[in-house]
Symmetry: C3
Subunit: 313 residues, 3 copies
């Protein structure tokens, strides 16, 4: 069984990118591949882009889609041997096994709690579900990773790169709320697995786990990082040293036109939604080098390629 949870190796990434670009050219190329098959999407956290793009992708393959917004209504127990007399009504053992009987592919979204690093690192929501599921699963974002977003980013870079090994900069950016590290972790993981040249710029206290950035150039100096960049990927994430804290006094990490001028006419990327004039200045986001809308558009082709792969083709 084949789950889609993290970056595969470079050959597989490239095959997925090719598959996605084929769907972008011919959306209905496999319109009957999934006939009679059901995708069950479970959102323990809300979603707009992921939900719509995955739903459209599944339908383009002929699949049925059932979507559960299971937020607060579906508190699941993960522990073994627990006496279930609290607020958790269902054990993941039953939950995953039951849904597996109604679904041919299960998509699951769950976020990091940002309170307990060890708990988040265990990715219980996803891993416990997968342990008891009997069909392929697709991560719709987990505590540590957002692989559908990262595949989308690889598709976008592949379409827009001017050389086989562009310089890519992932830069931390300010944000008024505490966000997970998932998008940033995953982007680093996929970029490095793809063999690209990655620099990660983040303030002191915001270094991503080495598991994800091993092989990247790391710096706390944003300006130095931006020099000669071909792609600038901005993203906020909460502190890793003071786990889950918001960064204070770091407004000058906003990506502005002046900063983009340091680059090699870099393209600007972001996963959306984005806080205008906090993460990035209007002039950059609305400028000719912003790829954010086409990135979001590529979400559907990424999902279509992944679902095809889960269908065993």
């Amino acid at each position: 069984m084949h789950h889609f949870f993290r970056a595969p190796d470079r050959v597989i990434i490239e095959a997925l990118v090719e598959s996605a670009l084929r769907y972008k050219a011919i959306p209905d190329a496999d319109a009957t591949l999934g006939l009679g098959k059901t995708l069950v999407q479970i959102y323990l956290n809300p979603s707009l882009r992921t939900r719509l793009s995955t739903e459209v992708a599944a339908k383009r393959l002929g699949m049925w889609v059932s979507t559960l917004d299971a937020g607060s209504a579906w508190a699941m127990e993960y522990g073994d041997g627990v006496r279930m007399d609290t607020d958790k009504a269902e054990h993941i053992k039953e939950g995953a096994a039951v849904i597996s009987q109604y679904a041919d592919i299960i998509g699951l979204r769950t976020f990091a709690g940002l309170k307990d690093r060890t708990e988040d690192a265990a990715e219980l929501g996803l891993s416990a579900f997968a342990k008891h599921a009997t069909v392929p699963m697709v991560s719709l974002e987990s505590a540590l990773r957002h692989p559908l977003q990262s595949l989308t980013d690889m598709i976008t870079i592949r379409e827009r790169r001017l050389s086989p090994k562009p310089k890519i900069v992932l830069t931390w950016a300010p944000h008024p709320r505490a966000l997970p590290q998932a998008v940033a972790n995953s982007f680093a993981e996929w970029t490095l697995a793809s063999g690209y040249d990655l620099t990660v710029a983040a303030p002191a206290g915001f270094a991503l786990d080495a598991e994800f950035t091993n092989g990247a150039t790391l710096t706390e100096d944003q300006n130095t990082a931006l020099a000669d960049a071909d792609f600038v990927y901005a993203k906020n994430w909460s502190s890793t040293s003071e786990y889950g804290k918001i960064g204070e006094g770091l407004d000058d990490w906003q990506v502005t036109a002046e900063k983009m001028a340091l680059t090699n006419n870099a393209k600007f990327m972001h996963c959306l939604p984005v806080r205008r004039n906090v993460v990035v200045a209007d002039a950059v986001l609305d400028g000719p080098d912003s790829l954010v809308i086409e990135q979001a558009g590529n979400r559907q082709w990424a999902a279509q390629a992944v679902l095809r792969s889960c269908l065993g083709r």
Copy 2:
């Protein structure tokens, strides 16, 4: 690009009514017209009739439907140049442009806030979205209008009128909560655009904006209005002079059997849901001249005709 936000001119209204009546006679007449196309419905406010009737209508055209109940989860920023450090996570610029990539038609419902008349009149929710959308949009009710309801009403009047130019009375009615003016505005707009004879009866302080009632007979005397009426359309709306306030001491505006006796055997209409024995007496609603259930039934044919038109046929 063709949006469905307000009353078109009379020729177009009549064509839409014809198209809807054709679907009522032959629901599956265009069962493959929308194959491979997606309707994304976004409900910033809840809905029962609009949601179900539009969903069924789209499916009858072969379309896929994705429905987002985006109420509190999706607070969007509309302002230009704003520093987005509040609770609004996404700018309408990105939101509209992104969803346009997953949808072939976008439906959007948003209500008047009933706090700031100028803000409501700007219909920001709909107009800002439309400014950045790149596919046709359908209003599923906006701050000022509810055009799918009004087209439904025109279909119902067309089926039930005994002469080409019936006397139609739109009468204000009591209600325990503050409601928008959208249905009433829109009904007046469509009725007048259709060339019908319209009288609007409302208490002092509840006059609709002249933009919608220009050409109608206006009165504060409900009984006079009802004389010789062929159709009585009851609807509550909140005050326009003390913007958004509920009417007090106006219980005698309820539509009763005695009042219906003043008319020319008029048919009774209401958009539903309706407060029994507040807006209208049981005897009227359950009587042989009530059209409210068939009005609601016509919602699906109205939606089907509008979606067909947005698909460019």
Copy 3:
């Protein structure tokens, strides 16, 4: 018109079981039976299994499915002649009649309030809706019954029984929250209608209404009940004598391996979700005689058989 609200007679039950087992063998046997027909599912209370299994079942018959999570958003008035000036925005008369126009089958879920026994016994949510609906309705669980679950249970017993008339024990079990009697009522009703030998074991104060258990052996001694059992169906329900109260000091009613040892190698059944080590011990639930996952899997075939029957085949 044909509603699915309660146990039919034995011949019909057996036909539904046969129909379900045929779908289990050949899921797509009637893939076009419901083409162009719509199932509207209304959940006034949340659901996981019922929602997904019914949705998949309807799609396998070629139907369209629209699902409304109508919980708090849709407070309906049931009373006749009421002046609707409270929080209830719509009368069931209009609600049911309107949805009937968009749907070919209506599914409705509503729970017992567990505050007023008489009100719950009237099953207003379901019966008032049915009174005004003009299409077949399927109960997705009501105040007193859960017939789709019970049909599933009959399918499972039919597949797993070793003799035509096995001894079946329905035993009360502990639970930290107050639950309705619906699953237990319905299981007793269907088991007895099927001609099986049923024993119901429950503590003092928890006797089910005789309407459901007439013909069963009743006891307050769980151990005696379990002797020679072929199937043990565990379920919590709240008190019937102190209506809606939780049982206290009854932890020893948990179904354990020791208790299962009293039986005739009985199979263990539960409708899920289940509180591990409160209702039943891990050793039983994870053991080879537990049928809970296959029970849940049979939900889709039960729903498919019922929908087929509502479609008039």
